[in-house]
Symmetry: none
Subunit: 416 residues, 2 copies
Amino acid sequence: MSAVFTEFDLMRDLNKTGGKIVLLVMDGLGGLPMTPDGKTELESAHKPNLDRLAAEGSTGLSIPIRMGIEPGSGPAHLSLFSYDPVKYQIGRGVLEALGIGFELGPNDIAARGNFATAAPDGTITDRRAGRISTDECVRLAAKLQQATGAMFDGYEVIVRPVKEHRFVFVLRGPGLGGDLTETDPLVTGLPPLPVEDNSGTPEGAKTARLINEWVAQARVVLADEPKANSLNLRGLAKDPGLPRFPEIYGMRAVALAVYPMYKGVARLVGMDVVNFEGERPEHEIAALERCWNDYDSFFIHVKKTDSYGEDGNFEAKVHEIEAVDAVIPRILALQPGALIVTGDHSTPAKLRSHSWHPVPTLLWSPTAMPDPVRLGGQDAAFGERACAGGYLGLFHATNLIPLVMAHAGRLTRFGA
Amino acid sequence: MSAVFTEFDLMRDLNKTGGKIVLLVMDGLGGLPMTPDGKTELESAHKPNLDRLAAEGSTGLSIPIRMGIEPGSGPAHLSLFSYDPVKYQIGRGVLEALGIGFELGPNDIAARGNFATAAPDGTITDRRAGRISTDECVRLAAKLQQATGAMFDGYEVIVRPVKEHRFVFVLRGPGLGGDLTETDPLVTGLPPLPVEDNSGTPEGAKTARLINEWVAQARVVLADEPKANSLNLRGLAKDPGLPRFPEIYGMRAVALAVYPMYKGVARLVGMDVVNFEGERPEHEIAALERCWNDYDSFFIHVKKTDSYGEDGNFEAKVHEIEAVDAVIPRILALQPGALIVTGDHSTPAKLRSHSWHPVPTLLWSPTAMPDPVRLGGQDAAFGERACAGGYLGLFHATNLIPLVMAHAGRLTRFGA
């Protein structure tokens, strides 16, 4: 027991072996009706399997960050994994690096890089360089790597492509750190900003100086590119060294996701990541089936619900929920001890954005309290307003892992 | 005001005189339906008085420890008394000692002792010595007291019977302490373990050494016993010196309970304990009536609901709830300012065990908001799923005492 006994210490003390758990996350699941008397995306979907699970299990609404706070993808997932995202803050650069499978070390500062277009005076005219192709991104990253990788004595520069205009920048070497600002002015027509350090430490000052030198040199290297003749760095950060999920909970844990960000957050807490062919829910479930015997805890991430919400495409989001419903029997056939279906946050098509609305959540297990199916005038058992009357109530998302472990018989009694 | 202003400081500032409060606890009250479309024990019970109180008062679901955590009896009761059990952790030995009315002092280390049966090689063959009779327990404890009570210079050994195979061991003397492990191997076929100290302090090392010497000598004393020829010590601990309930809340507080554990927890927070003849709810209420004028706050503990849940006896648990319902009019006749009816945790007959499910809770008072009676297809006003839609929502059990005090007019305004 550490000097200050934490919730994680409690979980370390109480975890035991038991049934397998599944955390099925539809990104941006929560929605809103387009008109006051309408239904949400989730309430509109024809999803007999999810509705049955909601009636047999318990439902509620989960709060990813705090009431009223619109979550980013990284912190929203940390919260699902039981890490309070206000306490455990992580730079975007770290998530981006982990998302492409980059093995971030303790001496590394990582940033999310964006290729950009600049006017002759250096002001940014397109923050995404016209969304260049991923092939172009690969070529440009290699060019920068070649030209700048060894520009510092004693410090290594690593540049890796992600997709379209996005790349990862890593500066590796001893004594790096600080609290570093971003170069992106966030609007076009302004010049990029210098990286500054707010920590006031010698490490921060040195790191800011080295990165500013690299940015200047990189812009020289890119000067003759027609579109991507500039770049910006965002979210400069080190791996925060989070407590390890498998160690806290005593579970072999794996993530099944298509998009880099979600693989990245999972790696950050120590989950394995299994790669697979295909991008549809059925491909993810096929991968789940293949690795079922190798793990205790399975995180499955479905991205498109969020993407369609961001696009304002209500109907496409409904159809994606229905596509997930169709694979539910394959998950149940594996006989998990307990299953959670939820989102990381809400992305109502009506708002075309992530939002702060709490997230409909269902917990199914043979040991769950069957919910009162309260329809509140909506004819779906699994829906935002049915969940508002559910047995689990309104709760912080960090409670989900302990809850699902309890239902799967993976927690011992606290105290005599 | 102390350096860190706590919730208890708030209560010290705000408490005032007012109506009397009653906390009626049916141990393990929460349950589950045996089939997904069935009713829980509480929903099944014919309990017109409790249903009426629920309809006139407010209901909700309380979380004893944390969401997903299965509570032990000690911490679950601390939570009802408003002490966060993750913050205030108490050894089983302390609870056991207080439960038999033993006056634990600041120099005492207490343990729960279990008489056990051992093979000739010392391995444990029955961890409960065939559940010997309480008479046998009394004889054996006296034998150990006689033979080992004065075996140390400067330290006193006290051995007291509890019931069946259980006894209390206390080592009393200066400079005892540490973070001590248990001797019980928890499964048969293994030898007992030595007590070890994890604190790394001189006190801990000395205490472990003395207790190991006592255990060895006690096994010699018991060697010729046919069943109870060995023993184990569990939950070695000191009185944690909790803040006093009567002082925090400005109430004369009493506990009415049959079983030692619950008297023990009540004493630990400074409540008086009134002993009485009989073990049924009506005997407890008779005791309540006798001491009504002497106290402001009354904790009444009903054990059998939990026992029947542990036995998997759904019907007997239902009947015990009905027996409690029958005495409700006698409580109301005393005209309490506010009354809470709840459990310390759930013990669903379906699971034959304590469980993590939140606990149905009702708060009745002339100042309470009458609940919307949402039956959710279940025809009981006081039931798990009706409470899930109750006005009090889902809340931590530590809020109950402030809530019931407010309803009884015992808290002043916070701020001007």
